[in-house]
C-alpha cells in the first residue's frame, strides 16, 4: 500500500472572542485550506471555537526540553520581580 502521507499540521483554536488561540492537537491534510476544514470537523464539532489557526508542524521551532533547566534558570533567583517580595507597612492601602 502506498504510504505517501499528507503533511502534519498543528491546530490552534480561539474558543471565544477575547481569548487567545490555544493548541488543541494535530491532523494531516494536503494543504492549509484542507487543514482548516478538517480542523473544524475534528476539533469544533460542538462549537468549541470561533477561529482556527493551522501551521505545518515542521515549521515550528521549539526550545529543547533537555536544556530547559539552564534555559529558564536566569528567572529563577529574581524573586524581586514579584510584588510579594516587598513589605508594605501597615496602614498603607491601595497598593
Amino acid at each position: 500500500m502506498s504510504t505517501k502521507e499528507w503533511p502534519l499540521w498543528e491546530v490552534f483554536i480561539r474558543s471565544k472572542q477575547g481569548l487567545s488561540h490555544k493548541h488543541v492537537g494535530s491532523l494531516r491534510a494536503a494543504d492549509s485550506e484542507m487543514a482548516i476544514e478538517n480542523a473544524r470537523d475534528v476539533y469544533t464539532r460542538r462549537l468549541e471555537g470561533v477561529s482556527i489557526w493551522v501551521v505545518e508542524s515542521k515549521l515550528i521551532a521549539a526550545s529543547d526540553p533537555k536544556d530547559s533547566d539552564a534555559f529558564f534558570e536566569p528567572a529563577e533567583d529574581k524573586i524581586y520581580r514579584h510584588p510579594t517580595f516587598y513589605d508594605v507597612p501597615d496602614g498603607i492601602s491601595h497598593m
Binding site: M1, S2, W6, G25, S26, R45
Partner: protein, 320 residues
C-alpha cells in the same frame, strides 16, 4: 550540558512521574515507556476507527430521522476520537501510515468487542449503553495518564462519550418500555452484549502481562478487575430500573463486600476473538482495507493539487 547515564535519566524520569509531573513529547523517556504508549494509543485509535463499523451498519436503517441524525453524530465522534489518538501517538514518533498498515495486516490489535455483529436496532442501544459505558470507565482514569498528549486527548474523548452512553440508554430503555416484541428485542440484545462488554476490561489482573509496569508509569491507573467491578456495580441497577435482566445466574449483591458478585467470564471466547476468530474479525479488517485502497486516489489527487498550487505561487513570487 552534563551527560547523564541511562540509570540516572531513568531515575529522574520516574521521580517526575511519582511527583505527577506530565511527560511531554520531546522529554527524555525510557524506550520501553515510548513503545508501551505507542502500542496502547495506536490500539486505542484503531478501536475507535473499527468501532464505527458495527454502528455504521444501522445508519441507513435507523427508525426515525432523529435517531439517524443522532447515530450519525455519534459515529462521527468516534472518527474524531481515532484522529485525536493517532495524532497523540505521532508525537511519540509513531508512523501513522505504518500503524494503519499493521492494523490491516493483523499485526496490530483493536478492542475485540467490535468483532461482534449488530443484528438488531436494539444493538445500537446496547452498544451506547454498555460498550461506550465500559469505554468511559476505562478512559476516565486515563485523563490522568502521565503522558500529556494522551491525557489531553482523553479529556476531549470523555467529554463526548457521555452523550454516546446516554443516547444508547435512551434507545434501549425506549424499547424496554415498548411493546412485548420491542422489550424482547432489548433483552435479547442485552443477552448478547453483556459478557463481551465485561471482557472489554481485559484479562483478569492475575493474568495481565503489562499491568504492573504500566501502573508504575501511570499509563494505567486502575486495574482491569477493579474497573470491571465498578462497571458491574453501576450497570446492574440501570438494567433493573428499565426492567431488563442481566444474563448471569451468579449475579448477586454481596452485602459484605459492598459489590455485586458475578459469574466467571469465558476467557476462551475472549482469546478466540482476540486471535482473529470472532464472528466479524475478517469483515472488519476487509472493510478498513477497502476504505484505504478505494480512498487512495483522493489522497494522491489532493496532494498533487496542493503541489501544483504551491508551484504556481512560487512562480508568481519569482516574477515579483
Amino acid at each position: 550540558m552534563e551527560k547523564l547515564s541511562i540509570d540516572e535519566l531513568e531515575k529522574r524520569f520516574q521521580a517526575k512521574i511519582d511527583a505527577d509531573i506530565k511527560i511531554e513529547p520531546n522529554d527524555w523517556m525510557p524506550e520501553a515507556y515510548r513503545k508501551t504508549l505507542i502500542r496502547q494509543i495506536s490500539q486505542h485509535a484503531h478501536s475507535e476507527i473499527v468501532g464505527m463499523l458495527p454502528e455504521g451498519n444501522w445508519i441507513t436503517r435507523a427508525p426515525s430521522l432523529k435517531r439517524k441524525a443522532v447515530l450519525l453524530a455519534k459515529v462521527q465522534d468516534e472518527a474524531g476520537h481515532g484522529l485525536y489518538l493517532y495524532s497523540a501517538a505521532e508525537t511519540l514518533g509513531m508512523d501513522r501510515e505504518q500503524s494503519i498498515d499493521d492494523l490491516h495486516s493483523g499485526k496490530a490489535k483493536y478492542s475485540s468487542i467490535f468483532n461482534y455483529p449488530t443484528l438488531t436496532w436494539a444493538d445500537m442501544g446496547s452498544i451506547g449503553w454498555l460498550v461506550d459505558g465500559a469505554a468511559i470507565m476505562n478512559q476516565v482514569p486515563l485523563c490522568r495518564c502521565s503522558y500529556g498528549p494522551y491525557a489531553r486527548a482523553m479529556v476531549r474523548v470523555c467529554k463526548e462519550e457521555s452523550f454516546h452512553q446516554r443516547q444508547g440508554f435512551e434507545i434501549i430503555s425506549t424499547l424496554a418500555n415498548g411493546t412485548p416484541e420491542q422489550k424482547a428485542m432489548a433483552q435479547e440484545s442485552l443477552n448478547r452484549w453483556w459478557w463481551p462488554a465485561l471482557m472489554m476490561f481485559g484479562p483478569s489482573d492475575k493474568d495481565s502481562t503489562h499491568s504492573e509496569q504500566s501502573m508504575k508509569w501511570k499509563i494505567k491507573r486502575v486495574s482491569n478487575d477493579d474497573l470491571r467491578q465498578q462497571f458491574v456495580d453501576v450497570t446492574v441497577p440501570q438494567a433493573e430500573m428499565i426492567g431488563l435482566t442481566v444474563p448471569d445466574k451468579d449475579l448477586k449483591w454481596n452485602e459484605e463486600r459492598g459489590h455485586y458478585d458475578f459469574g466467571v467470564i469465558n476467557w476462551d471466547e475472549f482469546n478466540q476473538v482476540v486471535q482473529g476468530n470472532g464472528p466479524c474479525n475478517f469483515e472488519r479488517i476487509e472493510a478498513r482495507k477497502k476504505a484505504k485502497e478505494n480512498g487512495m486516489w483522493v489522497r494522491e489527487a489532493a496532494l498533487a493539487f496542493a503541489e501544483k498550487r504551491k508551484n504556481k505561487i512560487d512562480i508568481k513570487i519569482k516574477e515579483i
